[in-house]
Amino acid sequence: MLMRGSHVIAESAIRAGCRFYAGYPITPQNELTEYMAGAMAKVSDATFIQAESEIAAINMVLGAAMTGARAMTSSSSPGLSLKQEGISFLAASELPAVIINTMRGGPGLGNIAPAQGDYFQATKGGGHGDYHSIVLAPASGQEQADLTVKAFECADRYRSPVIILIDGMMGQMMEPVILPEPIDPRSLPPKSYILNGASQRPSRFIKSLILDTRDMEEHNWKLQRKYESITRDLILHESYLTNDANLVVIAYGTAARIAKGAIKRVREMGLKVGLLRPISLYPFPKGAIVELSRIVKHFLVFEMSTGQMVEDVKLSLEGRSKVHFYGRPGGIISTPDEISKVISSLYYRQNLEEEQ
């Protein structure tokens, strides 16, 4: 069916067994909260709360996650800044939750147009302490449905917060979507850590305070080992026309769609250009980029920011190939035409047409 991105995520979440949602109004993601308000009311064991603040919303999710519920909150950039406290506690207490960030122009209040300025915040921890959230970046309506289901699965499997990073365009755009089959959360495997009253078992506590420095260090290494296993198992990316490419564009989400359109144009002009689209931003598809660098000597990172993911590309390549950057921050949506000009001028400047 033809469905708005924010509604796709909301409906897919409920179908994935989400039974607790707390949110706070912020544009451009109000449609998600409003959809949840209507749809959760029709699910007998589900809770929807319009919280008094972003901070309250994420902490309600923290509480719901302690009981084992599949829980979610959503917001847009300034709201995510407020939620960082809760996300740090979720990561520290090893609790699952799904958080949607419909990114908008920033910093500060910024604007409500599509942007990608929250990459660092999402992928590098964002709150205090040594942790990561899993970060997924869909680029279509269907992927928003599929990755929402995956987000809940990963959150439970790794007992970790999972952030779905979209922007106003992804959230507002309608595309044909096949929605996931609904599951009954009661059919999910029981969780060994939940708080529901110490009946027929010893009492439990969930905490993140670890005063003993050696224990705290060990907990940090434990989290790190988890991130290593996430990095082994969970990397997602799409390669488009990279086989014979002399130049590969790296972009995610909305920027990747625009880049794809641009690549189609420059291919028609005979330029050998491909696209690598990270779908998981954390873990980052480092291996795929390194693999490409055996042949590809030039990468162009395109972001709707002043350059954030480009740092991960450079870290992945460790100088193996040249990394170029083109960015449009502030809510500007480039046209494929604009990006095709950026690509072709780079291509000719670097004499890539001679590299055969």
């Binding site: 923290l62 509480g63 302690m66 110490a198 439990r204």
Partner: protein, 251 residues
């Protein structure tokens, strides 16, 4: 025939309290353990400790507990209670936690009539961090950030959160007690028991504010601390039932 008249409550773990001598937390932990045992709800109770001295409550209380970020106990408890409506959920918070950084979460949880119980331990300072001024610190009271005493012009007046919460439609029972004497400890026990019963009957938000001594940060001995509560603190924070719309429905 010997008769045992006093023993460690079953739900109090065999650990030595880390609290300072004369601190009210140890008394309150014991009361909570006794009450949960007497109400026979250990199998369905979930507690939410705060950031602050009492963050380690889970080291002492043998019940399910989930730690909250500083001030967010009411939001965390909301998430727990809404997901498990038939459990008994309580928060345990200090005055800095509940009346400064967590004011919004607390007022809105009360206003929604969240069916939870809050135990609000008011000792007039930030105990764990070294006795800084709390929103409840009295005018003229010394603290590590109000040398020379709290000054109204500079620091504002002590806040009465319980009275504020009483204004919300969703709160049904709010009482202020203290643990400075055996009689007052018994009154406190009755109040917390009543609050739990109100929650178990599904009647709405309940809170017991407990004026609690902090001899270390007050720089007093235990006896003087208890006396200071009696003679000074209760002038600003009188002991009373602040709100009770439940009446005889709960005995």
């Amino acid at each position: 025939m010997e008769k045992k008249v006093f023993e460690r409550p079953k739900l109090l773990k065999k650990a030595v309290f880390h609290y300072c001598p004369g601190c009210g937390h140890s008394i309150l932990h014991r009361l909570i353990a006794e009450i949960i045992e007497e109400l026979d709800i250990a199998h369905k109770v979930v507690g939410v400790p705060p950031a602050g001295c009492a963050v380690l409550a889970y080291d002492y209380l043998d019940i399910d507990m989930g730690e909250s970020p500083h001030g967010r106990c009411a939001a965390v408890a909301t998430g727990i209670k809404r997901s498990l409506p038939d459990r008994v959920v309580f928060t345990y918070q200090g005055d800095g936690d509940i009346a400064a950084i967590g004011t919004a979460e607390t007022i809105h949880a009360a206003n929604r009539g969240e069916n939870i119980t809050t135990i609000f331990v008011n000792n007039g300072c930030y105990g764990m961090t070294g006795g800084q001024m709390a929103p409840t610190t009295l005018i003229g009271q010394n603290s590590s950030t109000t040398p020379g005493g709290r000054d109204y012009a500079r620091d504002g007046a002590p806040i009465d959160l319980s009275e504020m919460l009483a204004l919300t439609k969703g709160s049904v029972y709010i009482e202020r007690t203290t643990v400075n004497s055996p009689a007052n400890i018994r009154k406190t026990k009755r109040a917390i028991t009543r609050a739990f019963k109100i929650q178990m009957a599904g009647l709405g938000f309940s809170l017991v504010e407990v004026l609690s001594p902090c001899p270390t940060n007050w720089k007093m001995n235990t006896v003087d601390s208890c006396k200071w509560i009696e003679e000074t603190i209760t002038k600003t924070y009188p002991l009373k039932v602040i709100k009770d719309t439940v009446g005889d429905k709960i005995q």
